[in-house]
């Protein structure tokens, strides 16, 4: 049933819920019962003042009865239907369902949203519990201290003839363990509090740098204009708590400054407006390597970008060393990433540009153009094998492309069932 024909169904539903007889409602709004009957059976269109009067008598917002009122609800229901595996909801009757049973429909939509939120939390926590050595170490430390306290306390409580020397020693031990336990527990809680907010707890110097850049929107005007040096920015930055993080940040900002000098903001903005997000064209236009374009695009302010972009880099071991997140393509914090990312193909084909359109598998599959390329670190040497860093720029593509390779975040949270690259079971396929 088409959307624009079901206002009557909603009126009938709301009237029944309010316990008002059809004849009473018709009289209250000044129409005949037979005409209201036709409206309620969707045989007459309704709008304007009559709709307002009916809404007033029924005590509901007119929008609840009108055509567009449930657009968001219907969109949610369609999304829930799209995520269904075995159930086959009657999609052609979704409008009727939302109109006749708004409460049930809202409940279903809310349930679907809640499942999505819970899956996200489970994904984050499972990732952390499975791959986070910091968490495992902290838990072990806490349990060991609890064991020591329990054992010592039991000795004190159950040994009445305990010598003063032993008693004093065990009291000191308990005090010492309790102090350590309090501190460890506080750190652990602070760490776990970040479970729902991936950026809230940092575990490595790289992440401190990422967080600093994210807080600045990946764009530093004072570095663009030369008003501040990389060292000065690092000096004043908050959140760079370790010397390693500050050193990494200085290196990253020097590279940023070099890219900004090679591709000044105003010229970059003008060229972007002309050619769009085309790394090859930008590389030719500015006579810079594609990887420099990748970095520069990730540092552009939102207002000059035709679309947001993501960026991820890895070293030769495949370890992710920088992430600029983009909606729809999850870049894992702790786990090893999907081996099907073009990022890793770039490692095996040094300094060769690669472009692949991929579909990121998930509840809401998205298509991306992934531009990847690796670059040598440091000068060439006859005496040492080169080290490489690989870059992958992610540009949203819009509609999912038929036949595009499916990629994921990491195996543990990837829903793709048949994958030759799978390293471990997925909690989304095989359950937790």
């Amino acid at each position: 049933m088409a959307r624009d024909t079901i206002t009557g169904s909603r009126i009938r539903e709301r009237r029944s819920m309010a316990g008002i007889r059809q004849a009473d409602l018709a009289r209250a709004v000044g129409i005949s019962p037979s005409y209201l009957n036709l409206i309620e059976h969707n045989r007459r269109r309704i709008g304007g003042k009559l709709l307002l009067r009916i809404a007033d008598v029924l005590g509901v917002e007119p929008s609840l009865l009108s055509e567009g009122a449930e657009a968001a609800l219907i969109a949610d229901l369609r999304e829930a239907a799209a995520d269904a595996d075995d159930a086959q909801p009657e999609l052609e009757r979704v409008d009727e369902f939302a109109g006749r049973f708004p409460g049930w429909a809202a409940l279903l939509a809310e349930g679907h949203r809640r499942i999505g939120a819970l899956e996200h939390t489970v994904t984050t926590l499972t990732d952390r519990l499975t791959h986070d050595p910091h968490l495992a170490g902290s838990m072990h430390e806490v349990l060991s201290m609890v064991t020591a306290v329990r054992s010592t306390a039991a000795i004190l409580a159950e040994t009445p003839e305990l010598e003063p020397e032993w008693r004093g020693r065990f009291h000191r031990n308990i005090n010492e363990d309790a102090t350590r336990l309090a501190e460890s527990s506080r750190r652990l809680v602070a760490y776990l509090d970040g479970a729902g907010d991936a950026g809230a707890s940092l575990t490595s110097p790289q992440e401190e740098v990422e967080q600093m850049m994210a807080a600045r929107g990946y764009h530093l005007p004072e570095l663009e204009t030369g008003q501040a040096s990389p060292d000065a920015i690092v000096e004043e930055a908050t959140g760079l708590d370790t010397a390693a993080a500050r050193s990494l940040a200085q290196t990253a900002l020097r590279l940023y400054r070099a890219d900004a000098q090679a591709m000044p903001l105003d010229k970059m903005a003008a060229t972007l407006a002309e050619v769009g997000i085309d790394p090859a064209a930008l590389s030719r236009r500015f006579s810079v390597p594609p990887v420099a374009v990748f970095r520069r695009l990730a540092a552009m302010p939102d207002e000059v970008m035709p679309a947001p972009v993501g960026l991820v880099t890895c070293d030769g071991s495949g370890t992710l060393v920088f992430r600029k997140q983009i909606a729809g393509f999850d870049l894992p914090r702790f786990s090893a990433a999907c081996p099907k990312w073009p990022l890793f193909s770039a490692l095996s084909r040094p300094q060769t540009p690669i472009r692949r359109t991929v579909t990121f598998a998930g509840r809401d599959p998205r298509a991306f153009d992934a531009y990847a390329m690796s670059d040598r670190i440091g000068p060439a040497s006859f005496d040492h094998d080169p080290l490489h860093i690989a870059y992958m720029l992610l540009v949203p593509r819009g509609a999912v492309q038929p036949g595009a390779p499916l990629v994921g975040s990491s195996c543990r949270v990837c829903p793709v069932e048949e994958c030759p690259g799978r390293r471990e079971p997925s909690i989304l396929v095989d359950g937790i």
Binding site: M139, H140, L143, S144, M145, V146, T147, A148, R150, S151, T152, A154, I155, E158, T159, W166, R169, F170, N173, E176, D177
Partner: protein, 122 residues
């Protein structure tokens, strides 16, 4: 002199508490705090029972246990393993390595005493 127990554990206050309760129960207790040379320590000390932590600096309790089971003198040594890692897979790993008894932290003193007595059959 009571039967000999060797305790390999890196948490000093657990070492002190377990040593105390076992000593009061009549056992002769020796201790060691790292995994590097734990196998040598066991071989040299020749205890009647080994209490072994899993997460030790240098070498894990699982590795130590496997090495002990491969050597003739320690193949039948009763080993009580203590660990904060109580998942099924850890328990299974300990069983495959040849553990005699597996106990997860935090445990009670009474449980430790009972296990030690049973394993050495006093």
């Amino acid at each position: 002199m009571g039967k000999r127990v060797l305790l390999i554990e890196d948490e000093p206050n657990i070492i002190e508490a377990i040593s105390f309760i076992l000593s009061r129960d009549g056992w002769s207790v020796a201790t060691h705090a790292n995994g590097h040379d734990a196998v040598d320590k066991v071989t040299a000390h020749a205890p009647d029972l080994l209490i072994l932590d899993v997460m030790l600096p240098g070498k894990s309790g699982f590795e130590i246990l496997r090495e002990l089971r491969e050597a003739e003198p320690t193949r039948g040594l009763p080993v009580l393993m203590l660990t904060a890692r109580g998942q099924t897979k850890d328990r299974e790993m300990a069983e495959r390595a040849g553990v005699s008894r597996f106990m997860t932290k935090p445990f009670s003193n009474a449980d430790v005493l009972d296990a030690v007595r049973e394993l050495v059959a006093v």
